[in-house]
Amino acid sequence: MKDDPGVTVRALLTAAGIAPSEEEVEKMILSYPMLRAAADSLYTDEISRHLPAFFPTDEDLEER
């Protein structure tokens, strides 16, 4: 199913309960494809094998 930024952005804003002006919505629609593409780029098999670290982890702590 093709993602129509205009439809998607309006639906997401409605779901979030926020109501920008039409001019502001149009600006957000323009930026959405780039933002979505950046988020989609994170779904690689290599990344998905890791557990989420909701805060920076202490694994790299070393005595220095």
């Binding site: 952005v9 997401l12 920008p20 957000m28 670290a53 982890t57």
Partner: protein
């Protein structure tokens, strides 16, 4: 020096202790500098002249009595107006923040500076909620770069940046969630540290993105940043993200040289990018050479996954800031500045799975960084790949060339220091990144660079002619 006054904390601390200068004299002169320049630069949101002069007098009385509370005694400093200070309200430069937020209380970082006898001159300007581009239609002053008043000083810690650069304060606090200490440091020609996540408590600090936010020092030199960091670092019981571990002696780590240290130079995702400003590239390469001259071993490195780490940082920031502001965006959308509400609304575009995936990138990215740091002690990059933009230019165009957010996601220390002028005499910044909780080595490398260069001593023309 500005009119014979020291412009660094280190110089001022020496003068105060020799009593060749009193804190009262220093504070009065900086207040006069503020009178001359603040209306133009937009540095302060609130000034605490009366209480600052009283604190300066107290510092002098303590010195005369042989009482020395610490390196910040008698030193005039600024505090970004998302950090609570008891003298007045915190605004976050927004109409939205509760007017009583933090009123009457000091954030731990402010209390710690005050415990050393620091003089708090006032609350410095911030982008609204430390978030996005300046809003020229907003009720808060526009921020101007001291090096070119028609250019942006960077943000969101704009006021602390301009205040230090123009000599209105000798140092101060900013906050950094995606670059908000380092960007104004780079564009204003000063030094600014994003410390390790968890090193400095951020209770009574208005949050932006809770897993990325840090409070960091801004001053003219890395040595001065180390002095402020020494005062503010350490766990606080009211901040569960602050890590309880011993705070190193940062001053003693500043050996003045980089001998025995390996400096990793990451060019592939930075200065080798198409469209990178050629003058910035020249300055960066010159900085690398200077580090070698300071005793460092230079190693070429590449951080695989940098684009994904950067993307995850921006997604995490958008999601977390949206979560914090969601209710107010629903009920007070138009009370936010236009640019701020646009930036905050972006968080609504991501789903829960996106946020979780970004946190997997955090773990993945930390593993990749650990591999790079097995070959070097610190990594260096430019802070920003273009000069300060004009006030009317597109802020997001500059962000494309800003190399700061990735290090917030990974929770590691990152410091920006001046590396020389680019076109039009505008400052440029060298970014030094280290392992988590190895802020000392980052500061040591920066201090070593500043022993062999003088870029951090440059003063903007407006600072030299004011007063």
């Amino acid at each position: 020096m500005i009119d014979g006054l020291p412009v660094t904390i280190t110089e001022a601390a020496t003068a105060l202790r020799s009593r060749s200068l009193t804190s009262l004299e220093l504070t009065e002169r900086l207040l006069a500098q503020t009178e001359s320049l603040d209306a133009t630069l937009g540095t302060f949101i609130a000034r605490f002249d009366e209480t600052a002069l009283a604190a300066a007098a107290k510092a002098d009385a303590d010195f005369d009595a042989g009482i020395d509370r610490g390196p910040l005694q008698g030193i005039p400093l600024g505090v970004k107006d998302i950090i609570a200070a008891r003298e007045g309200a915190t605004t976050a430069c927004s109409k939205v923040l509760d007017p009583d937020w933090g009123r009457g209380h000091d954030a731990p970082v402010v209390a710690r500076m005050r415990a050393q006898g620091a003089v708090i001159l006032g609350k410095t300007a911030t982008l609204e909620f430390a978030m996005g581009p300046p809003d020229p239609d907003g009720p808060f002053p526009l921020h101007r770069n001291p090096w070119d008043l028609e250019r942006w000083p960077g943000g969101s810690s704009s006021g602390t940046g301009t205040g230090v650069a123009a000599g209105l304060i000798l140092g101060g606090l900013g906050s950094d969630t995606g670059g908000s200490v380092r960007i104004p440091a780079a564009l204003c020609g000063i030094s600014g540290l994003k410390p390790s996540f968890g090193l400095v408590p951020k209770s009574r600090v208005v949050p932006l993105a809770h897993s990325l936010d840090t409070v960091g020092p801004m001053a003219r030199s890395a040595r001065d940043c180390a002095t402020i960091l020494q005062a503010i670092a350490g766990a606080s019981p009211d901040d569960p993200t602050s890590i309880d571990r011993p705070v190193p002696d940062y001053a003693s780590a500043l050996t003045g040289d980089a001998s025995g240290l390996r400096v990793g130079v990451e060019r592939d995702h930075h200065s080798r990018s198409a469209g990178f400003d050629s003058a910035c590239r020249e300055r960066f390469e010159a900085a690398v050479s200077a580090l070698e001259g300071a005793g460092a071993e230079i190693v070429d490195v590449r951080l695989d996954g940098y684009p994904e780490i950067n993307a995850a940082a921006l997604l995490t920031s958008a999601a977390e800031s949206f979560a914090y502001h969601r209710k107010n965006l629903q009920t007070r959308f138009n009370d936010y500045g236009r640019a701020t509400r646009h930036s905050l609304s972006i968080g609504a575009f991501y789903g829960s799975a996106d946020y979780v995936q970004a946190q997997k990138v955090r773990a993945w990215g930390l593993a990749k960084l650990r591999r790079v740091l097995s070959d070097c002690d610190v990594i260096v990059t430019p802070t920003i790949g273009v000069p300060a933009p004009g006030l009317s230019e597109d802020f997001w165009a500059m962000m494309e060339w800003t190399y700061t957010p990735a290090w917030n996601l990974l929770g590691v220390p990152a410091l920006s220091i001046p590396m020389g002028p680019v076109d039009g005499g505008l400052p440029s910044g060298l970014q030094i990144i280290g392992a988590r909780f190895d802020d000392a080595t980052v500061l040591r490398v920066a201090d070593a660079y500043q022993q062999v260069t003088e870029w951090h001593t440059r003063l903007p023309p407006c600072a030299q002619t004011a007063g």
